[in-house]
């Protein structure tokens, strides 16, 4: 095998190696910024691959239509509501909360309700007394469906159509 051939093989291999490394970097580059999905597409298109996790986390009722608002069903301020179109919704005693509660057992920034794909999630924001979906105190964002009771302090909220 001639010197030149070996040299070309070596250079070709180094080229492949560096093409690989640079492609990996370019994937990371676009990966860091992700894709901004428009709001309409998010609510319309179902996001597969998450079903199993969601089913395990919260009891979900069969969906007959998308929920439109979040309603306080029990507690100090029954009837208070917030439109889901304004999501993400902040729940708490603070003045910046979308649902402002006068409940002593609720933290200033207690929990948040936000959408992902066609599903709604409630997430505890490190509140003192915790956020419960059904009887379970949640530790991570948890899917909620229509009519699932979310308890913060002495207040119970639900997603309604």
């Amino acid at each position: 095998m001639s010197e030149l051939t070996l040299f070309l093989i070596r250079m070709a291999f180094l080229a492949i190696l560096w093409i690989f490394v640079l492609s990996a970097i370019s994937v990371i580059r676009s990966d860091m910024f992700g894709a901004r999905v428009p709001e309409t597409a998010r609510n319309g298109a179902p996001a597969p691959g998450r079903k199993g996790k969601a089913a395990a986390k919260a009891p979900r009722k069969p969906r007959r239509g998308a929920p439109t608002h979040l309603l306080v069903v029990e507690g100090e301020n029954p009837g208070t509501r917030a439109e889901l179109a304004d999501a993400p919704l902040l729940i708490g005693r603070g003045s910046d909360a979308a649902i402002k509660l006068d409940d002593d057992y609720v933290s200033t920034r207690h929990a948040r309700v936000a959408a992902s794909g066609d599903e709604w999630f409630v997430e505890d924001l490190g509140s003192t007394n915790g956020t419960y979906v059904g009887p379970v105190r949640i530790t991570q964002p948890t899917t909620i469906g229509l009519g699932v009771q979310v308890r913060v302090g002495k207040t119970i909220l639900e997603l309604r159509k």
Binding site: M1, R10, L14, V21, A35, S116, T139
Partner: protein
Amino acid sequence: MSQTGTLMGFVHRRRRGAELFLLVLALMVGIGAYAAVGLGVEGVVPADLVGYGGWLTALIVAAHITVRIVAPYADPVLLPLVAALNGLGLAVIRRLDLTYEAIGLDQHTFARQQLIWMTLGVILFIATLVLLRDHRVLQRFTYTAGLIGIFLLILPFLPLVGREINGARIWINVAGFSFQPGEVAKVLLVIAFAGYLVLHRDALALAGRRVVFIDLPRGRDLGPILAMFGVSMMILVLQNDLGSSLLFFGLFLAMLYVATERPGWLVVGGLLFGAGALAAYTFVGNVQNRFNFWLHPMDHYEDTPGSYQLVEALFGQGWGGLIGRGFGNGFPERVPFAYSDFIISTVGEELGLAAIMAVILCYGLIVERALRIALISRDGFGKLLAVGLGAIVALQVFVVVGGVTGLIPLTGLTTPFLSYGGSSLVANWVIVALLLRVSDQARRPAPRLDPGDDAGADSESTQVVKLR
């Protein structure tokens, strides 16, 4: 942090297509290297190229399909990086095998054994991803993992199974297979540290007395983890395994720092390390030698024990230059253990600085992805786990590559994925599986808050409610 708004609005894509594309490139690196070895050393394309390439492809495709099914949102770059490094390592080991065979050494089947170990590693990778659907389950086994980890570290001391190879008592021999239980122990200890620190980090960071500049935590908070750490350090020192003790020390420090957010730990750790190193230098002859070889390698070339190995490695890397001599045109066989600890010097000699840089960049990317996973992970345990696993790779690469290139005194460790060494390879594949599992959880679309923002906001906005 100010990015909360942007982070909320953004959904991670799955990017499995990108992963597949990178995997194809990674396979080209691995199989291309194997072909280049054949062409360079023997002058012909290796006869078993199709079989070898097919086997490698099958392993990688199996791993990729598993990721697609059970961890669809996992990080797309980690698996290709690992595949490329492993493929390159196999080819370089194969290259050494050919020379060892030519000069009549007994042991010249390292590449085949490495391929078997890689197969086992990929099987364990798949098993980890399939069986472990949620990394938080591991948090339940905090103390179990710690105890098993320490037990594994002690194992080489036991009379029947333990074996001493090359002056370090870190091997066990089961059914004809040699295995370094310490490699598995490090993964278990990361799990134990992460599980413990996530529960006790507030107490560690906030409760306690201030002495001079440092807030000392209370004994009952620090005690268990210090015991776990102390025992493993002691065992490693008794085993005469400098590299691993360095690795564990750095790992422990990094995790403590990340968990408590106290830079003071780094100062304390640095001082402790300095004191430990000084003590080791004064009392352990071996350590003194290592320092001398590092500072004056040429003076000890002909001594036994001497710096022969390091000097030959440095000569090799210098002879390789910028683009290397090409496979088959160097003399990597002059370096003892060129296939394991010193594999970087073989890469440097035959592929040059260009390839060493690419390899180090690959490791850098693995560590970057691990830290990125820690940043976006939503639960504290996942964050600490990712940081710990990333720190293992980072420290290991730094210690061994730094040692081989003469940056720091040499301590024996394997280069992750590249070096010959079954236990290390298998453990590293499991590390990657765990990282992918955490990243899958972290990147799944769900409303997410920036953790830094949360921590800052909690302190001012969460109130103590009336306690009756």
